[in-house]
């Protein structure tokens, strides 16, 4: 299906994909804005006090993050389905209807978060305001909406995969997306037992971001390599299956590293430590895989041209997207792999659990593993909808990627330093009490780290504005080959 890789014109599935990408990009901006509010509150605690408190800003920050990624993930699947299966997506009309339901539901949820914020301690709050469970705070009515939308999406994917040509990439996505949707059900009930609560809560959070989402990224990376540099499908798909084995083999039981301290038995120390320590391995494999394929196809191109080296054409058909994909290979390994491994052993985690260490890891991992590749997919969509043969960097695309990456890395470094202060002062030295907590927070190293986090957050946000500008303008830019 090589012929229609680069053209999104005429495909309703691809049109729907661009809708998903657009809303995802808007939410990405919202995520950064609320992150900035929360970052300012660390530095100036009185900022918006009892107007938009840290808890609300932070909830919107992480919820916008999760939702924009889910939107972009759905969008990317709708984008690649016609290429991979050779047919128009089945049930696309329902897909479009569900998109609007999804958008409307999110708008309502956000307005309630912003203006109602908290409710009385009864079930109505859980049903209609928010559930107070980090990452999946969405009220229960919205949970049911999300399940319906996700089922519709999985239905589209399955019907299309079964009717059209089912490539390895589509097969992996089918298996992965049904697990992704099904796992959400584990986070939809209320219990008085906080240990049971958190046990199942992690089924959603961990088995999403450290298992099903990672496999999703593997599939998207495979599609991107075929699309952008013409990598050999058989090789790419073989790697993909190896990655699935390694990701699920380590990630599913790696869940144990969340069960060290929540009331669950001690055997999770060993299981969690062993399997989560293996989690970086597939990320190394994915990293090698991307660079190896790039080098291999570029090498083949150079041999085929038989001209002097200066005239050898780059095999990359979309420079900005490929930049983001390569960043993904680096960022996934660094953010999820290295920063995750730092504090995954129970001996270390006893002191780092619940400190800014986690937040340092969270920032670099979500960015490196997911934001990068999804932004890359947005560039592929811009290329496709504008009929561009070879897409080049623009000034703003280069500044955007540099500032966003620099900003996130800067925030990660700052938060890591803050984490060290917390671990040493509040935990190891003073034993985790209220007084210990605030002694750590008022330390000079901690305070300065928070200043730097805010500065780097602002850099990230400016980078985002440039990215938005590039998204809106690059499609018509005459610099690209058409």
């Amino acid at each position: 299906m090589a012929s229609n890789h680069l053209t999104g014109i005429g495909s309703e599935s691809k049109q729907l994909a661009t809708w998903y990408f657009t809303f995802a990009a808007i939410l990405f901006g919202a995520q950064l804005l609320f992150g900035l509010v929360a970052a300012i509150q660390y530095v100036m605690p009185g900022f918006l006090f009892e107007v938009l408190d840290f808890s609300v800003a932070r909830m919107l920050h992480i919820n916008a993050l999760v939702v924009w990624m889910v939107f972009a993930m759905f969008g990317a699947v709708y984008w690649l389905l016609p290429d991979e299966t050779g047919i128009e997506t089945v049930g696309i009309k329902i897909g479009k209807l569900l998109y609007w339901i999804f958008v409307a539901a999110i708008a309502v949820v956000v307005l309630v978060y912003l203006f109602i914020q908290v409710g009385p301690a009864d079930e109505t709050t859980i049903w209609f305001i928010q559930e107070g469970r980090e990452y999946i705070e969405a009220p229960r009515w919205a949970d049911f909406g999300i399940v319906v939308v996700a089922l519709g999406f999985v239905g589209n994917l399955f019907l299309t995969g079964m009717k059209g040509k089912r490539s390895g990439i589509v097969t992996v996505l089918m298996a992965d997306m049904i697990a992704f949707a099904g796992l959400y059900l584990a986070g939809m009930f209320f219990t008085d037992n906080i240990s049971v609560d958190q046990y199942w809560w992690w089924w959603v959070i961990h088995l999403w971001v450290e298992a099903t989402w990672e496999v999703y990224v593997g599939s998207i990376a495979a599609y991107g390599l075929i699309t952008m540099i013409g990598a050999h499908r058989k090789t790419v798909e073989m790697w993909l299956w190896i990655e699935v084995a390694m990701l699920f083999g380590s990630g599913i039981l790696g869940l144990g590293h969340h069960y060290f301290w929540i009331g669950t038995p001690e055997y999770w120390w060993e299981i969690g430590a062993l399997f989560s320590a293996l989690e970086p391995l597939p990320l190394v494999a994915m990293f090698i895989h991307v660079l190896y394929d790039w080098g291999k196809t570029q090498g083949a191109e150079m041999n085929a041209e038989h001209t002097d080296e200066d005239n050898v054409r780059s095999v990359i058909k979309n420079k900005p997207a490929f930049t983001w994909f390569v960043l993904n290979a680096f960022g996934n390994f660094l953010g999820a792999g290295i920063w995750g491994f730092f504090h995954t052993l129970p001996q270390v985690n006893l002191y780092t659990h619940g400190t800014q260490f986690t937040s340092a890891h969270g920032h670099l991992a979500f960015f490196g593993a997911y934001a990068t590749i999804l932004v890359g997919m947005m560039y592929i969509a811009i290329q496709g909808t504008n009929g561009i043969k070879v897409m080049k960097h623009t000034k703003s695309s280069i500044w955007a990627v540099s500032m966003i990456t620099g900003g996130v890395v800067g925030m990660t470094v700052a938060l890591t330093i803050a984490g060290y202060v917390q671990v040493l002062v509040s935990r190891a030295q003073m034993g985790a009490t209220w007084a210990a907590y605030f002694d750590g927070q008022s330390g000079m190293w901690f305070a300065q780290a928070m200043d730097w986090r805010l500065i780097m957050g602002a850099v990230t946000f400016i980078g985002f504005l440039l990215l938005a500008k590039d998204f809106l303008s690059t499609g018509k830019n005459p610099v690209h080959e058409r």
């Binding site: 840290f54 301690a121 190896i242 969340h258 301290w261 009331g263 034993g431 209220w434």
Partner: protein, 228 residues
């Protein structure tokens, strides 16, 4: 492709992926059954009969709770109603909670239910951490009940002018911005007196959960940072 190797055969890797995923999933489900049994909430009979549960029943609020080193396990464990000297709970020493140490199973369960709903309805987790999970903008609440600051000579109890730990905590929860401890304050979340009672019961119950020694050295070292 003259020589076919199994290592470059997609079907081999596809099957491997399926088997590995299936095996890991089955193991996880099996462990989930075991863990679920171990973390199910106990009841009043367990406490009466001296049965140690990882998550004790709600009537644990009638007992004195401490957090002490267990030589056998090599870390601190919650001790309910007195220590037998070897790091095991005696379930004997009672402690009044809002003036009573005879909360019935139904009453205690109702309080805990209200408290757990309260922690979610007020979104505690997006500033605090519970069992170490949540946001990092405010102190961890896992063992907050055992924090000396709320105890008889503690600064927080003194600040609220109350005579007991539970009353001091409930007062703070209802009017947090009246009692600023630091520049970073807890906002007023409209917590009622009844909800506050429930949330304090939830916190006392949470402090009795066996968290495998997290947090380490809780409240054992005071003011070390200032060389006191």
């Amino acid at each position: 492709m003259a020589n076919k190797s199994v290592w470059s055969d997609n079907r081999f890797w596809q099957r491997s992926a399926a088997w590995v995923t299936g095996f890991a999933s089955v193991l996880l489900i099996w462990l989930t059954f075991d863990t679920s049994a171990q973390i199910s909430m106990g009841n009043d009979a367990d406490l009466q009969n001296g049965v140690t549960k990882r998550v004790p029943g709600p009537t644990v609020i009638n007992y004195k709770i401490t957090y002490e080193m267990s030589q056998k396990r090599g870390h601190e464990v919650p001790i309910i109603g007195g220590n037998d000297g070897k790091g095991m709970s005696l379930f004997q020493e009672k402690e009044t909670f809002f003036g009573r140490d005879d909360w019935s199973e139904e009453e205690a369960a109702e309080l805990l239910h209200l408290g757990k709903l309260g922690t979610q309805a007020k979104n505690c987790m997006n500033c605090h951490t519970l069992l170490g999970n949540g946001a990092y903008y405010a102190p961890d609440l896992t063992k907050a009940w055992l924090d000396p600051a709320w105890g008889p000579n503690g600064s927080m109890q003194a600040m609220t002018g109350k005579d007991t730990k539970e009353e001091a905590m409930a007062e703070f929860l209802q009017h947090p911005s009246q009692y600023p401890t630091h520049e970073r304050m807890m906002p007023n979340l409209g917590i009622t007196a009844e909800e506050a009672k429930g949330i304090v019961a939830f916190l006392k119950h949470m402090s009795s959960i066996d968290t495998n020694g997290f947090p380490r050295n809780f409240a054992k070292i005071q003011g070390a940072v200032h060389g006191k």
